[in-house]
């Protein structure tokens, strides 16, 4: 349940930004979380429910975009290979793939009022 710690961090950043922009309320927190991170969406939502009380995000909507794991092969020069089984070896040539997406963990934007 490190999602609690992660959500704590998200709310600290969000409240800091609201402060900076003189906003009294946070309407939306939009996150981008890569599939290849050890973060569970349900646990993150639960942590948000538990931690938002008493913050400027008390009424906010939490939007989580899950970014699928994608890689490219340096040898086949194939880009954007979807990886359903988490294997980072190219199916065609066996080369080590480079991850191009799926390791994100960021606040994309906030909607402030």
């Amino acid at each position: 349940m490190h999602e609690m710690a992660i959500m704590q961090g998200i709310l600290e950043i969000a409240e800091g930004e609201a402060e900076k922009h003189g906003a009294g309320r946070i309407n939306v927190i939009k996150l981008r979380i890569g599939e290849f991170r050890g973060v569970v969406r349900d646990a993150l939502e639960f942590a948000f429910e538990a931690l938002r009380q008493g913050t400027k995000a008390e009424q906010a909507a939490l939007e989580i975009e899950t970014v699928p794991l994608r890689a490219s092969c340096p040898n086949c020069s194939e880009r954007n290979i979807p990886l359903n089984d988490f294997s980072l070896l190219c199916r065609d040539c066996g080369s080590i793939l480079t991850i191009v997406a799926g390791r994100e963990m960021e606040i994309e934007y906030l909607d402030l009022e």
Binding site: M1, H2, A5, I6, G9, I10, E12, I13, E17, H21, N27, V28, L31, F36, R37, G38, V39, D85, F86, S87, L88, L89, I96, M105, E106, I107, E108, Y109, L110, D111, L112, E113
Partner: protein, 231 residues
């Protein structure tokens, strides 16, 4: 209503503290290893065996992370190696701040190789950088051959994977070959050592690799020191 685009890394605060920790280690020429595993995979036993084989040649130290008790730090202290216990209470991982606070209470001066034994957990510790130079994972073969594919992040993040309890392979029905294949699928560059704390199997190869790693870092640190002092 207005939108503020951030694209801020959620782990930014932890990353900053981790960099600060790294500066503290580097300033004192300390090499730091973050040791991770699920509970019961044998992190402390691996540490004990590794320490026994290396303590005459290197100045070692250990920071232990657990939810409760100082049992692990006591086991390490019994070997004559300085150990500091972090008890996290309910938190399932160590983060850079906890380690940073520990560094205020635990004198790491003079230590060449510091192990940080993380809280036993197969998921969460992989997400928190502690400023270490190397992540090492212990995985006991009896946990099954398929876990690297089911819990890929820690395997992916670890430069070295120690497959422990290989003495139990005949009783477990687990194929070491299949397990190694799965580790390499999620981390094609992983350095893998099958080991057994019970029989000592594999510890020659593992500690030889570790000595090579620390020696290479030691000469790099000396070179950097000489360059800085103009020698």
């Amino acid at each position: 209503m207005h939108q503020v685009t951030l694209e801020t890394g959620i782990m930014e605060a932890n990353e900053q503290l981790a960099s600060h920790n790294r500066e503290l280690y580097d300033a004192q020429g300390i090499s730091v290893i973050n040791l991770m595993s699920a509970p019961g995979a044998g992190k402390t036993s691996v540490l004990e065996k590794t320490i026994q084989r290396m303590k005459d040649d290197y100045r070692l130290g250990v920071i232990e992370g657990d939810l409760m008790t100082t049992m692990d730090a006591d086991r390490i202290s019994a070997l004559g190696v300085p150990a500091y216990q972090i008890t996290t209470g309910t938190v399932c991982h160590l983060d850079a701040r906890m380690v940073h606070n520990a560094l205020h209470n635990f004198d790491i001066g003079g230590i060449e190789l510091l192990f940080i034994e993380n809280v036993g957990n197969l998921v969460c510790p992989a997400e928190f950088n502690l400023g270490e130079h190397l992540k090492i994972m212990v995985y006991s073969v009896v946990e099954g051959a398929e876990k690297p594919r089911k819990y890929p992040v820690m395997f992916h993040e670890s430069a070295v994977v120690l497959l422990n309890k290989v003495d139990l392979l005949p009783y477990s029905g687990v194929s070491l070959e299949e397990l190694q294949r799965n580790v390499l699928a999620v981390n094609p560059e992983a350095i893998i050592f099958p080991v057994s704390c019970r029989t000592g199997e594999g510890f020659d190869a593992w500690t030889e690799w570790l000595r090579g790693w620390i020696d290479a870092r030691r000469s790099a640190i000396t070179r950097a020191g000489n360059a800085a002092s103009g020698n």
